[in-house]
């Protein structure tokens, strides 16, 4: 039974596709699945950086698609996880280097050997986007609760054909939702009309972990680690209740203040 | 904020309405500023040369770092300073400049209509109701970036430059045709980045892809001084060292930006906003003023940490 190929897309740039791909991939791997992460952002690759694997790249997606190497050579094993591999993007070629058919064939091949394939989609709706969705069965549309992001997500939802598309709402700030300064999750669901499979709070830990190349899911105790774990489980069919993000109240802030963490 | 004076010409250089129009059309860019002219004669000179406006593309490589916000705010600021400004949304299919400016409900025709001549430029331009010298040329939403021929885009930018003091082009993310169309015809570039590894890496790539001869400057956006102090975030100096570009501004991160986009009001107009103040300084620098870039101090000590934590004193 071939694995599922998800494309992680958004339309709007900078909402967290790459971070989501890396961390969700790690979460699946920690749950015991064999995972391949594909960076489809040819020319502007970043998945390697977020995973801290940038120094180990020899072959990339374009090499694989053009037959210059075997999958085994292009896939980089992330040693921190049991079964997590990265297929990096090419940094020098531009996005016209790969066709949609080539992508479809390559992703289908990966699905034979892997349980889960996550394709990190570039921003926008040009060739890069079309290539990234070409081989995908399902879509995870990442958005933030902001006007531009939601507008672009709506546009993207209309371009995914008959693929199942679910939402991940990123960078949520519960205190701003409470004060009426940010759209709520309910608002997002109502406006976009799709199932929400993940709600991720805004957290400065992401910046730190990206700088270090250490996905936040490596630490199972961290709140974000638990959240990505929950998203993975929901995608696998489990009914996992959503964390109440509003727990980050006054007491927690005071505590952090005093301890200075 | 003086909105009434947008269309008025500085009285010392004009005697009649015709002189005013001629004078407005001969406003020079700051780098070419000459000594103040004597009072204009009663008859406008028939051979007075028209100065071409400045064409600036705002680009980044990485998405979501603040190109559109920057374009909207700099455009607004320049218009409020009395310049004739057009902001061009080059993000075909994923337009947002209209939404950030609060003009989305007045968009009817767009850039592709103008290029394909199913609309005149005047029909497509949306004039801001408050800042009367600010115009938006919207992107098409239901077309693709491939539909825009590069040479047509170049010609359009050129004709805009003949009409406006400032042509600000909001580039899409990425390095594909959308980006190439946005930079064509621009003589200057403002590269926007945030102090994060991916953004800096992409900015570096984009700088390498700018056509030769384009004068590029840097804005570092979404700076969070507290995180820089903690060592979690790169400092502005780190970024400038890597990218080796002249810095034209540093913009702090604030929740006011989200609120501003919710409302469709550029943050430059929100009183008390640090981000708005930073954009105002950048506008002044664009106009030729030498304003030092402030170093944003991280909050020190228990009391300021308390304030930051409980958000007291914030508008």
């Amino acid at each position: 039974m071939p694995g599922t190929v998800y494309v992680v897309t958004s339309g709007k740039g900078g909402v967290g596709k790459t971070t989501t791909t890396a961390n969700l991939g790690g979460a699946f791997a920690k749950l015991g699945h064999k995972v391949a992460l594909v960076d489809a952002d040819i020319g502007l690759r970043n998945l390697d950086l977020v995973l801290g694997l940038e120094k180990r790249i020899v072959y990339d997606l374009v090499d694989l698609v053009e037959g210059r190497c075997q999958p085994r050579q292009a896939l980089i094993k992330d040693r921190r996880f049991d079964d997590l591999y990265l297929l990096p993007a090419s940094q020098v070629k531009d996005k016209e280097a790969v066709t949609e058919d080539q992508m479809r064939i390559a992703m289908r091949k990966l699905a034979v050997d892997f349980d889960v394939v996550l394709v990190d989609c570039p921003a926008g709706i040009e060739h890069g986007f079309r290539n990234a969705i070409a081989g995908a069965d399902q879509a995870l549309v990442v958005t933030t609760p902001e006007v531009s992001a939601i507008r672009d997500a709506d546009r993207i939802l209309g371009m995914l054909g008959r693929r199942r598309a679910r939402l991940i709402v990123n960078r949520v700030r519960p205190e701003m939702v409470r004060s009426g300064d940010m759209l709520s999750i309910e608002d997002v669901k109502e406006i976009l009309g799709r199932e929400i499979v993940g709600v991720v709070p805004d957290d400065e830990e992401i910046i730190d972990t990206t700088n270090r190349g250490e996905p936040v899911v490596l630490d199972g105790a961290r709140r974000l680690g638990r959240i990505y774990n929950a998203i993975a489980r929901r995608l696998l069919g489990e009914d996992v209740p959503f964390t109440n993000l509003a727990d980050d109240g006054l007491f927690t802030r005071l505590r952090r203040l005093v301890i200075g963490s | 904020m003086d909105t009434q004076d947008n269309d008025a010409v500085r009285p010392s250089t004009a005697l009649t309405v015709q002189d005013a129009i001629a004078a407005a059309q001969t406003q020079t860019a700051p780098s070419e500023a000459v000594a103040p002219q004597p009072a204009a004669p009663a008859q406008p000179k028939p051979t007075a040369p028209k100065t071409i406006g400045r064409t600036i593309v705002i680009t980044s490589g990485k998405g979501g770092v603040g190109k559109t916000t920057t374009t909207a705010n700099l455009g607004t600021g320049l218009a409020e300073a009395g310049k004739q400004v057009v902001v061009v949304d080059a993000d075909v299919g994923l337009r947002n400049l209209d939404v950030v400016l609060g003009l989305e409900n007045r968009v009817h025709k767009h850039l592709l209509d103008v290029i394909e001549q199913t609309s005149t430029l005047d029909e497509a331009l949306v004039r801001d109701r408050v800042r009367r010298s600010l115009y938006l040329l919207p992107a098409a939403q239901n077309r693709e970036k491939d539909d825009v021929p590069t040479d047509a885009m170049a010609a359009l930018v050129q004709s805009l430059a003949e009409r406006f003091d400032y042509v600000l082009i909001d580039s899409p993310a990425g390095i594909e045709k959308g980006f190439r169309n946005a930079v064509i015809g621009a003589k200057e570039a403002i590269v926007v980045t945030t102090p994060e590894v991916s953004a800096v890496r992409d900015a570096d790539r984009i700088i390498g892809l700018l056509p030769p001869g384009v004068e590029a400057k840097l804005i570092v956006n979404r700076v969070r001084p507290a995180l820089v102090k903690k060592g979690t975030m790169m400092s502005v100096t780190d970024v400038v060292d890597i990218l080796r570009l002249e810095l034209i501004g540093v913009v702090p991160d604030e929740k006011e930006i989200i609120i501003a986009t919710n409302r469709g009001t550029p943050v430059i107009d929100i009183d008390g906003s640090q981000t708005g103040a930073a954009f105002r300084r950048i506008v002044k620098r664009l106009l030729g003023e030498q304003i030092p870039i402030p170093s944003f101090q991280a909050p020190e000590g228990f009391v300021s940490r308390l304030k930051a934590s409980l958000r007291l004193g914030r508008s």
């Binding site: 902001e146 006007v147 300064d181 608002d187 | 009817h108 939403q141 239901n142």
Partner: protein, 148 residues
């Protein structure tokens, strides 16, 4: 603190509400322009219904969407030439095959049979060729004469 008080007393609309309302309008506008063929189908179907009850002047027809700043509207200007006679059950008549415009002014006969004649012959011919024993299929619907 002062800001909180003034906000409370002025009942300033939360920016979240503004955002939601703006998104509602802009997405309608985006979605309409993104699927023109879908909306063309909608317009055709809509006019099909109208034509059952009214004879309309096709040349003066104008149906379009308009984005007025606080509202998104479907506007239809449909010049009416004649109101069609109505059946006992209140439904409009199906347009006749030849005189589709109904411009002769005379009452159209209540003639469901006439348009059916030609296709039924075709069907019978088919049945004779392949399935001579098959009973006549009464449930086949008459396609509308004027899909556009």
């Amino acid at each position: 603190m002062l800001d909180f008080i003034t906000k409370f007393f002025r009942r300033e609309e939360a920016s979240r509400t503004q955002a939601k309302e703006r998104l509602r309008l802009v997405l309608m506008s985006d979605r309409v322009s993104l699927a023109p063929d879908v909306f063309d189908s909608m317009k055709s179907e809509m006019l099909g219904v109208v034509r059952r009850y009214l004879d309309i002047d096709e040349t003066g027809l104008d149906v379009h969407f308009e984005n007025l700043e606080r509202q998104f509207m479907l506007l239809a200007n449909i010049p009416v030439l004649k109101v069609r006679p109505v059946e006992a059950n209140g439904h409009g008549l199906v347009a006749a095959a030849a005189g589709a415009n109904g411009s002769n002014g005379a009452n159209q006969p209540f003639a469901l049979d006439a348009p059916n004649a030609a296709p039924r012959t075709r069907r019978r011919r088919r049945r004779r060729k392949h399935h001579p024993q098959e009973p006549a299929r009464e449930t086949d619907q008459q396609p509308p004469e004027n899909p556009m």
